[in-house]
Amino acid sequence: MFQVRIHGRGGQGVVTAAEMLSVAAFLEGQHAQAFPSFGSERTGAPVVAFCRIDDREIRLREPVLEPDALIIQDPTLLHQVDVFGGLARDGYVLINTSRTFEALGVGEFARSLCAERLCTVPATEVALQHVGRPLPNAALLGGFAALAGRISLDSVAAAIREKFDGKVAEGNVAAAREAYAIVRGALRETCHAEAD
């Protein structure tokens, strides 16, 4: 089973991101379960959502405490919430930011993980450019498809089109594609750096 935890703030589409990720996995014939962690939701408050993907029926319904992958939609949460809690040493981390792990103050932690499984992508800027609103969720799913390789970009695009219609859908698909390309490029650089 592959377990993803998504951190963000109320209003950033965290719950929708988990839903779309589960739909993308479903479209690839996998079993998937997405659910939010509920509280007194309000705009700006820390929000968590989960997605499990497996090739067989998923029966447990606990919150994801030991994620294989983290998507962090808002880097201001890094020092407020235990976002890395339970993350496997070989886990994936994708952060919505234009800064580096070092600049975000989590460089030391990042060095304890696999470099080729960590990435940042300025998803909010990408979303503003393609959707016109600071909603980074779809872009991050595109980036996640590139980072973890667990779901394809085409499935992410199909899931976005299932959730949204018309221009909003196409804008989000374009954002996902650009974030995918950014992450692919960044990963190639990481690999070259390691080879050097």
Partner: protein, 310 residues
């Protein structure tokens, strides 16, 4: 058709396939998405022949469902937690009047302290209200139990509550197989009420009775509950034949051979327990489990069953 949808949406689609004629709705988390979905279907013309009534409270929701059902309509509503308590007086009337209303209860804790999260206290507070209570393990079963609930209720002239864990199921996206209208039509006959409130042929139902007649009424209510014990397993089997999957029934077990310990549970926690059983067996632990889904009166069904047949 396989779909990856929210549990609430799966239930809304199941209810729509049952061709309800009156739906009353009053919002309360975590059931709201269900009636919102149904409201959209009625307004969008997907669900025809159905009147969607916004009411001012849960008490009104059940009262309108009672009126609709007594007038011969297939009636549905949904609630949770404090909402169920607020309608409690009407809930008892629905069963006393023998009206086969189906209601989803998105199980949620009761305050104080105020708590929107899941537990079964709301449904358990109504355990003796005379309704049949069915509990879903996952969203597929939640969907399926609604189809079974209409048939069971209408056969017995009893209302049926379908209980599903609030948020844990209602707000979870997972794979469900949504049957076709033809499949549901073939399995669920049109509602033929035993008696109908009709100004052209007036009758009184639920009129005042003295202690002698009341005892008889209560005896008959008990007899209906006992008959449900006979009907539920047979219909679960019939459902399996028609739809190709196991849903409902009184009691199911999982890896129960050689069990030293029996875990009896209701609702979505069963999935987590099953994974735990698998894990413990894999680790060679000597502790073994026997798991059961119990439904209304399964306790007395259990009591009648020899322990070696459990």
């Amino acid at each position: 058709m396989l779909k990856q949808i929210e549990g609430s949406r799966a239930v809304a689609e199941a209810v729509a396939l049952c061709r309800p004629e009156v739906i009353c709705a009053y919002p309360i988390s975590p059931q709201t998405h269900i009636v919102e979905g149904l409201g959209e279907m009625v307004k969008g013309g997907e669900l025809e022949g159905c009147e969607f009534i916004n009411v001012e409270s849960e008490f009104a929701a059940m009262s309108v469902a009672i009126g609709a059902s007594a007038a011969g309509a297939r009636a549905y509503t949904a609630t949770a937690s404090q909402g169920l308590l607020y309608m409690a007086e009407a809930v008892f009337n629905a069963s006393g009047l023998g009206l086969p209303i189906v209601m989803t209860v998105a199980n949620r804790a009761i305050g104080a302290p105020i708590n929107i999260w899941n537990d079964h206290t709301d449904a358990m507070s109504q355990r003796d209200c005379g309704w049949i209570q069915l509990f879903a393990e996952d969203n597929q079963e939640a969907l399926d139990l609604h189809i079974q609930a209409f048939r069971l209720g209408e056969e017995l002239s009893l209302p049926v509550m379908v209980c599903m864990d609030g948020f844990i199921l209602t707000h979870a996206y997972e794979r469900v197989d949504v049957p076709t209208q033809e499949q549901v039509d073939a399995w669920l006959p049109a509602f033929e009420p035993r008696q109908v409130l009709d100004p052209a042929e007036p009758v009184s139902i639920g009129a005042m009775v003295g202690p002698e007649a009341f005892m008889e009424v209560r005896y008959l209510a008990h007899a209906k509950q006992m008959r449900a014990l006979e009907l539920i397993p047979g219909w679960a089997e019939e459902f399996r034949t028609a739809f190709g999957r196991e849903s409902g029934g009184l009691l199911r077990s999982y890896r129960t051979e050689d069990a030293d310990t029996v875990v009896v549970a209701l609702g979505s926690v069963l999935g987590t327990i099953k994974d735990t059983v698998d894990e413990m067996r894999r680790d060679g632990a000597k502790i073994r489990f026997r798991i059961h889904t119990i439904r209304n009166h399964a306790g007395c069904w259990l009591g009648r069953t020899r322990p070696d047949r459990l």
